[in-house]
Symmetry: D2
């Protein structure tokens, strides 16, 4: 242990580091790079305070894990192997995994992955395991198999289920930090919950992590906060609209890049640091050179590009001209081809100027063995030691359980909603489009309307 | 007036827009560009939450001005010209000036200005006055002379002193927002004060803005908060160290650029968007194309540059390897050449690897007609209408008044402080350097030491 | 209007008074008396911060009403009678009713009313309408029918439904203040919601008060907060236990009082100020002389009373020796006589030392014409002006709607749960009692157990 | 150790108890009595939220001491006797002294002590040492000499200076809790400081408690907060006015009591529980029977007393009719007899209706061996282990040091300030009185005025 090092953090107040290895990991270029990757990508276009980085979030996850570990070693230290209590030897692997769990994220994460077919979890593991990174060098100093162990925690294959669940479960250090942090930086007044109380209620058992029953209300509040952050922030239609813009913009770049290549033309409209990604042959060091700034600087140059679609999309993205949207339902989904046709009729390529996008999430669900994406259920420990699943104790959670929140939307250029002068030959098309919308929803327009 | 538009803000809770012109100004590319300029530049390297943008700050200044204006029109509306009360006709010019006051800031503002000899206040006025900007186009719709009026407020030449003081004085909308905002995002627990109370205490008079005497404690608290933010955040030695790095890095680029030019070589190591700045011939549109991302993306490429000094400085800046520092006093300033010589002796170019830097500010001072940078004093209105200067009412402010806070420092590579093995031929030089430091201060080493 | 008067409030920051009549009402003895009535009665025995008074709460309700009224007159001032907008003439009646709505509360309200058969709402109206009170004198200065109008608002018979709903509905100034205030003083981290946002979303219509649909999440959050305060604070089993103690104590006093009376003995163990209540002939002035302190001082004297049951109950109440409790269900309710018999068997009079107590509440319910206690539903205003009931828009509220939260409990002396030495002849009775409890619930003990 | 018991606290979030002895001390009647003693006495008449009890404060001091002790045993456990580090054996004596330090306070403490010549510190020790209290019984179970040790800490005679300074010094658990708690409940927005940071900076040494130099700003902020609470809350003129009323009221009761006694009349206008105090022969059990409620209930009865001065003072106290005040200076002090004479001239007994009252305090002062009330200076530990007194490191504290804040005031009936009709024969006297006041200060009236 070193003499404590303290970092000021607006969400958790202070982040304490007591281990030289943690300090060294923070100091690596691979970790410092996370300063240049925004945690919420385009969300800051809607919530202008949300400029916080994955660097800050990663420190936060580390700090929450550290507080949990301190609680576990003080109150539930294992006495004999297999007693289901906390093994203090797991301390460093837990802290390192918490700190490093997001290491592989790329610029504007989800869109980036979709376009370049990358996967941040796999890159996180590569960075940890590759002998060429400083992260690996630091981890290796702990023990030769330490990088492997940390990678296993992130891959959820680590043998100790307590360690895995503290990093990835329905109520883990990662989620707790991002909910609190995103609430703080967006200014959402809804995402708060009592972190200290939840940590205090953690009770390990052989199968993982449970919570004392007297912490039930704090956990209930966490589940509600999580729901609120989803419906209000993560699913916000305007940030989804900006994400659609970014995705279409990159698709356009990819299209132009391929065109040039096929025609034997140079692709110097893409900066050297981005080239490997478009070429489709990116190595780890090249991957790590790309951050939000590199992507944004390219988009700034593309704003002046001779391809008018690319230049327009870059303008819309940089100058925040989001697509508009309407909700669609099962009943109205059949109308989408008509809507796209109307957008095309006034001159927009529907591949770049329209999109369909769903956002759904289950706020809490108990363990369903058939579920595609298995979720760990939250267990409450009764006075007599029995574990009871949360929704059996909380009427509120039971009420929420298994319900889906979110919506499906069609995105389209905001120009479709504007009034156009009668002399504009396109005016009837715009008017026709607008007939399909009521209270923000796609509707079957009334026949009488179409007669007019 | 339009139907109110509300933006969520973590510091002020909500930002309310009631005027189409304000909404249109926010929507211009020139204003949206401020999203890509960090408010505190390199400070986020020390306070990792401080990633907030000048966009957010500008909205905040607008919102505070709006709240003040609402207070003034409700409680102190002018009845007859010259009665010293608030003229409601000034509303829009106040709000527009508040919103736009930072429009001309460049990337990593202070360093940028120093290197490229630009001035953000003059650029702010250019953007407002140039017929080519969308900002100008929007302002002009209000009235033909409206851009000129807004520019005058920013230049402090506007005839109504109340409007000018609300934007620039010792306790104005700008300062109040940045203190609260910087405290929020850095997580400093010291920078808070009671904004609502201070606004409520504002009392206009013919010469400007005074405060009701019963608000004295709130203002006292503001003065203390301001002092605290200065000594703890703005003067932080590590963020000054990062700023030194950035400055030296850009000086190195400038040097290489000139070298290449003189040698007739290409300067394509600088991206097209930055070229005009290094050429020294930047027009307004080119100026506006440069933001933090463009600069950062260039630094990322420079990390691979063949010039080892540039590459090293870029690495230190991106991977956060700040220079270390010690405080210097009048007595020890004479030792600086020796210190620089020792740094050079182990192989660092002292022009790029050392720096001297002062940070001083007066936390509050009353009006001193001789002062270089004139400051408006804070006036408290007594029961009988007399105005009394703050320090005559507040023992605390009187105690602080006229005192300077801050320090002067020498910056140098952190390697100078490390222990070096005896077999290292440079080891005695490092040891010699370290003799000059005690408790973080530059000292005259004891003669006995030098004997050793 | 007078020059604004500001009261510092920890929950709402500041309370602003602009009307001399409001200031005068606050200054009356009848209103000042509320300083000596705790808002939450015995709840401070569980949440030790919750010592706040009905005085503070009443000011809070006034302040929230004032903020709502300011919003309504700024954004929705009525233009013509019957346009469904806000009639500014209602301002003062709204503010006065908000301030005075709790005037009639007695000491430790609910218990007090139960024992002395008083009703605080009827006393509130008496105080307002009686020509003998200073409250009445102040109100009368506004207009001769003004006391009557204020009383009507409290009785919900006032013709303007907007005024009535702002004081009493599912989301009114009263509830909003007490939820925030009780959360603040108990320290519950769950009861917060975004008051400013909710106020801003208020939209009057001819039938009352609706909310803009874009405020839906803020209202959803309010409904959840309300639920959380109920289950965690208002229904807390220990505070119900203390209330049971107080009630039985007063019943014992009443019993002794009647006994003495029948036996022609003096009742000087009851202080002069309390005598009228026990005599059953209390006039308004006498009623107003009784506050928490008067009741508490009597209980302090009763601790030394020669009646051992009274002395013991007074000791338990003052020294915080609450009864313990277990939950009971429909299935186990039949066992209650056995439980009471066991308590009696060890020497406690079950009338004073046991109690059954239910706490149930519906967190939100839409309007049910059959319901005993009619509730106004919360209406959301859509873009096109339609009103839609909250649960049709909020999946979360729909999930909660109509569900009951709370429990039924049997209270008994904590001594029943203690271990007793084998030589204690009562030991088997205690053991028998304890067999009926598992995880805090009353259960049917297993037959095998009873064999032992 | 027992399984942790958690109490919800609005200021410190949670209070944790791990020791059965602490739990038992909390459960004693002597400690529960503190629920019925307000922490700030009459201050709640000005800051209506400040109804918090000494019970809550005492728990808070305990909790802060517990957190400090945890910090000390984790980071600075003593290895060998005399190494200046923290001796874990002191844990329980520290916690018990922290919890019990205010045990002897009477109702409305300072006034009470002044009238009845009692001293709360000496009563605290009596309660701890007397074999008749339950407090003593619980403490004795730890060790026979344990009550004595706890009493020594409170008397500052305990041999370990670290324990003593944690309970009583310029920055101790007691002050830290009351500043935070009083700020929270009054709603003062100024009294906050970073408790967690200060605790973390605590560094024991053989002579007591020092703080790491890097905590300097947090301590500076504490000193400022303390100053702010003094000038804004503790010295508030209206709460001093209410205290004057209470004092004069009790003096009147004392006078009447003596009169009756001398005349052989009954004193049954004083309730049995208060009798011993007025008789001047109070034993410990009798002392402990008196709390705020007992005193308040008496005052309620006195409001109906036949002595018109007593009845009027009781009315003014209960119905909050504070005396008004003006500041007096050395220069104007000589005018006080004239002012009193004018008050008497309109019919008020100046002994009961006027008062002179000073409030001064030094916000921070270093150790002055001559000072009447010795203060421990705050020491900062430098990198090399040296201790440096705070004001030598903090320009802000140096600026504040040794300055006195506060004022001296004359209190008088508010009627003196009212306008009186010309026909009132007393009108000229009121007018004369008012000539002596300007901007709230006592002044020498201008001669021209007196001519009129």
């Amino acid at each position: 242990m070193i003499k404590e090092k303290i970092l000021r953090d607006p969400v958790l107040n202070e982040i304490h580091v007591y281990d030289q290895v943690i300090l060294d990991l923070i100091g690596t270029p691979e970790f410092q790079r996370l300063r240049r990757i925004k945690q919420l990508g385009v969300t800051s276009e809607v919530f202008h305070g949300a400029e916080h980085s994955r660097f800050a979030h990663s420190l936060g996850v580390y700090e929450i894990a550290r507080r949990i570990e301190m609680h576990l070693s003080l109150f539930y230290p294992s006495q004999t192997a297999g007693d289901g209590l906390w093994d203090k030897e797991e301390r460093l692997v837990l802290l390192a995994a918490a700190l490093l769990h997001d290491l592989g994220h790329g610029a504007y994460s989800h869109t980036f992955e979709h376009i370049f077919k990358t996967d941040h979890e796999s890159y996180t593991q590569k960075i940890i395991l590759s002998p060429d990174t400083q992260i690996h060098a630091v981890l290796e100093q702990v023990a030769p198999d330490f990088p492997e162990k940390v990678a296993q925690v992130i891959a959820k294959t680590y043998p100790n289920p307590q360690v895995v669940q503290l990093i990835s479960s329905q109520i883990d250090a990662d989620r707790m930090d991002y909910l609190l942090r995103d609430a703080y930086f967006t200014g959402a007044s809804y995402g708060h919950f009592d972190l200290a109380r939840i940590i205090q209620m953690i009770h390990p058992y052989e199968g993982g992590i449970a919570f004392d029953d007297k912490g039930m209300y704090a956990i209930e509040d966490y589940v509600v906060s999580r729901y609120q952050m989803y419906v209000q922030v993560y699913f916000h239609p305007v940030s989804r609209a900006m994400e659609v813009l970014l995705q279409h913009l990159l698709e356009r770049v990819m299209y132009l890049y391929q065109q040039n290549k096929e025609n034997g033309l140079q692709n110097n409209f893409v900066s050297p640091l981005l080239q490997p990604l478009f070429r489709g042959e990116v190595n780890l060091q090249e991957y790590l050179m790309v951050d939000d700034a590199v992507l944004l600087a390219n988009i700034s140059e593309w704003r002046l590009n001779e391809d008018s679609v690319l230049a327009d999309l870059a303008h819309r993205f940089l100058d925040r001209v989001p697509l508009k949207s309407m909700t669609i339902s099962k009943q109205t989904r059949g109308l989408l081809p008509e809507m796209r046709a109307l957008v095309e009729a006034v001159g927009y390529d529907p591949n770049y100027y329209t999109a369909e996008n769903d956002s759904f999430d289950l706020p809490y669900d108990d363990f369903d063995p058939e579920a595609f994406k298995q979720r760990t259920q939250i267990e409450l420990r009764q006075q007599n030691g029995d574990l009871v699943e949360l929704s059996q104790r909380s009427t509120l959670v039971e009420a929420l359980m298994g319900r889906e929140f979110g919506d499906a939307r069609l995105f389209f250029p905001r120009e479709m909603l504007q009034e156009h002068p009668v002399e504009d030959v396109m005016a009837p098309i715009y008017a026709d489009f607008q007939r399909y919308i009521e209270n923000g929803q796609l509707i079957e327009p009334k026949p009488t309307d179409s007669v007019k």
